[in-house]
Symmetry: C2
Subunit: 329 residues, 2 copies
C-alpha cells in the first residue's frame, strides 16, 4: 500500500483538519468531533441540512458544507457510518430553530444511525426530517438501491431551497423530488485499499471491470470484460434513460464522477459519448459536471448521473453556493 | 493497461470534444484542430493569452480557457509539444489586435515550438511576447527548471490582468513577476501509462517514490523510500521556503495539486502539515487550492506550490474567471 498518509488510524481527523484549514472562510470543525459545520452555523431561522456517512468518498460530504448546501457533515471512519451520538451532536450544532433535514445515502448502517439520531433529537423537541437517496440503478429492487453520486444534487438543490427560506416541509419535499428524478450507475476498473486494511478490498483481473459498482466496492450488475469508453457509456446511459423514462425534450443535468483514480481525460471521453447519445435522443443537457464528487479512495472508474430538471430545479442548481468542492459558474 | 478510452490514437481529440461539449457556454474548438479557444474569441482590444503543451496534464491547459484566464490552449499528443503551425493557428484565432502573450512551460520541445510560432506570427505583424515558467525547484540549475503546477497561477493572474485592460507589456510584466515568486515540487508514488505505449513509463518499487518528479515522470531529486505524508511535506516545504526566501509576515497562496491518481483525502493530509509549518513560521496563507490542476495521467502523488503575494496579486487571484476548471469562490 502506497499512500500519502501518516497514521492509518488518524486519516479522517487529519484529512478534515486539512480541509477545514484550507477553507476556514467557509467551514469549521466541531471541537473534538469529526463533524464539519458551516462557519456561521447555526443560521437562525434557516432549515439546516445535515448529511454524512463513512469517509473515503471525498469531497463527500464535508466538501459540500457551506452557504447554499449543507450545514453539517458527519464523518465516520473510512467506509463506516458515523455513530448516532455524533449525528445528534451535528444536528444540535446547526439547528437554527426551523428544523433539520437529514440527507442519508441508502446504506443499512447510515439509515439506521441517522434514524436513531433523528428519534433522539425529536424527543428533545427538535423538528427533524429525513430523506434517503437511492440513485444507483444497478440494483433492480428499488428499496435496496444504494445512494451514490446523485446525492450531491440533493445537497445542492435542497440546500439552495433552504438558503432561500424554504420551510422544513418544503425543503424535504424538494429533496424527495430530486431523489425521484436522479439516477446513477458506475463502473470500477480497480479496487481501492482501505488505509487500515492495507490491501485491496476486492480484486479485478487485468481485463476485468465491476459494472454497477457501489462506492464501497460492492458488487454491481456483473463482472464484465474491459470494453471501450463508448461501450460502457452506451450500457450505463441505456439503463439510466430507461429507469428515468427520459424522452424527447426532457432536460437534464449530467454528472460524470471520477471514483478517485481516473484522470479527467477519461472522464471527458466518457462524457463525449454520453452527450452524443442524449443529443441523438433530443434530450437537452442544461448543465454538466465532470470531476470527482463522490469517490471511493483511489478506485479507478467513474459513475454517470442524470437528474431530470424542471424550472425550479434549474434555478436552484444555479443558485450561489460557497462550499469547498462545488463550483456554480 | 485499463483505461476508459476508445482508440489510443484519438484520446486527445475525444477528450477535448467532451470537455468542450460540457462547457459550451465558455469555450469552443477551433475546427479540425486540437485547439480550445474562449467562446467569444477574439476579444477586440484585449491582450490574448495562449498556452498549451502535451496532453495528459488535464485540466491543463484547456480547462483554463475562458473569461479571465486563457484565450487559447493548444494541445499536443500525450506528453508531446504541439507543433509550431498549430500554435500559429491559435495565436491568429485569438489575436484581438492588442497583442498575444504566450505562456510556456520550460520543456525543450515547448520552448522551441512556441518560439518558432512567435517568430512566424511576428513576421506577419502580430505583437507576440512569451514568458517561460520554471517553478520546479527539484532541479538546482534554474535555467533547466521545468514548468509545473505553478503555471496555473500565471494563467490566473496574467489572465486577470489582461481581462482588466492590461497592455501586452503590463501583462507580460506581471506574468514574469508571478514566475519570479512561484515555486513547486512534487512526489510520485506510481508511474503513469501512456495510452499508446500501453505500459508504465517508469517503475517504482513497492516502497519507493520519486521525489521531485516532473509531470512527465522525469527524474527528480532522488528515488526515496516511502515516508509519511508529514515527512514529505517537511522536505518539500523546506525546499520551497528556502528557494523563495519566505519569511515572517510574507503572504502566500498554496496549491496542493494531485497528479491524477491520488485521492483528495491524501491531498488534505498533505495540506494540513504544509499549513502547520507556514503557521509556525508566521507566513500567512491568503488562499488555498487543493485538487487536480496539472496532472500526469493517473500518476499517484502530488505537488506543492507556493506563490508569494502582494496586493496586486491578491486582487487578481480573486478576480472573476469563467473557465471549466478553476473556481474563484
Amino acid at each position: 500500500m502506497k499512500k500519502l498518509i501518516n497514521n492509518p488510524d488518524r486519516v479522517v481527523e487529519e484529512m478534515l483538519e486539512g480541509l477545514v484549514m484550507a477553507n476556514n472562510d467557509k467551514i469549521r470543525l466541531l471541537d473534538g468531533e469529526n463533524i464539519v459545520i458551516r462557519k456561521e452555523a447555526p443560521v437562525k431561522g434557516k432549515v439546516a441540512l445535515v448529511s454524512g456517512g463513512g469517509s473515503g468518498h471525498e469531497p463527500a460530504h464535508a466538501g459540500y458544507v457551506g452557504e447554499g448546501m449543507l450545514d453539517a457533515a458527519c464523518a465516520g471512519a473510512v467506509f463506516t457510518s458515523p455513530t448516532p451520538n455524533r449525528i445528534v451532536k451535528a444536528i444540535k450544532a446547526v439547528d437554527g430553530g426551523s428544523g433539520v433535514l437529514l440527507v442519508v445515502k441508502n446504506f443499512a448502517g447510515d439509515v439506521m444511525n441517522f434514524e436513531m439520531a433523528a428519534e433522539m433529537t425529536r424527543s428533545n423537541g427538535t423538528k427533524v426530517s429525513k430523506v434517503t437517496v437511492n440513485d444507483d440503478v444497478s440494483i433492480n429492487d428499488v428499496a435496496r438501491r444504494r445512494g451514490i453520486a446523485g446525492t450531491v444534487f440533493v445537497h445542492k438543490i435542497a440546500g439552495a431551497k433552504a438558503e432561500l427560506g424554504g420551510t422544513l416541509e418544503e425543503t424535504q419535499k424538494i429533496a424527495e423530488k430530486v431523489i425521484a428524478n436522479v439516477r446513477s450507475m458506475g463502473v470500477a476498473l480497480t479496487s481501492c485499499t482501505l488505509p487500515k486494511a492495507g490491501k485491496p478490498t476486492f480484486t479485478l483481473g487485468d481485463g476485468e471491470v465491476e459494472l454497477g459498482v457501489g462506492i464501497h466496492g460492492e458488487k454491481g450488475i456483473q463482472r464484465s470484460p474491459l470494453k471501450s469508453a463508448d461501450e460502457f457509456a452506451n450500457i450505463i446511459v441505456e439503463k439510466l434513460i430507461k429507469d428515468l423514462s427520459l424522452k424527447l425534450q426532457d432536460e437534464v443535468a449530467v454528472m460524470i464522477n471520477g471514483l478517485g483514480g481516473t484522470p479527467l481525460m477519461e472522464l471527458c471521453i466518457i462524457y463525449r459519448r454520453v452527450a452524443h447519445i442524449l443529443q441523438d435522443l433530443g434530450v437537452r443537457i442544461f448543465k454538466s459536471y465532470i470531476g470527482e464528487y463522490m469517490t471511493s479512495l483511489e478506485m479507478a472508474g467513474c459513475s454517470v448521473t442524470f437528474l431530470r430538471l424542471d424550472e425550479e430545479f434549474k434555478k436552484l442548481l444555479l443558485a450561489p453556493a460557497n462550499v469547498p468542492a462545488f463550483c456554480c459558474s
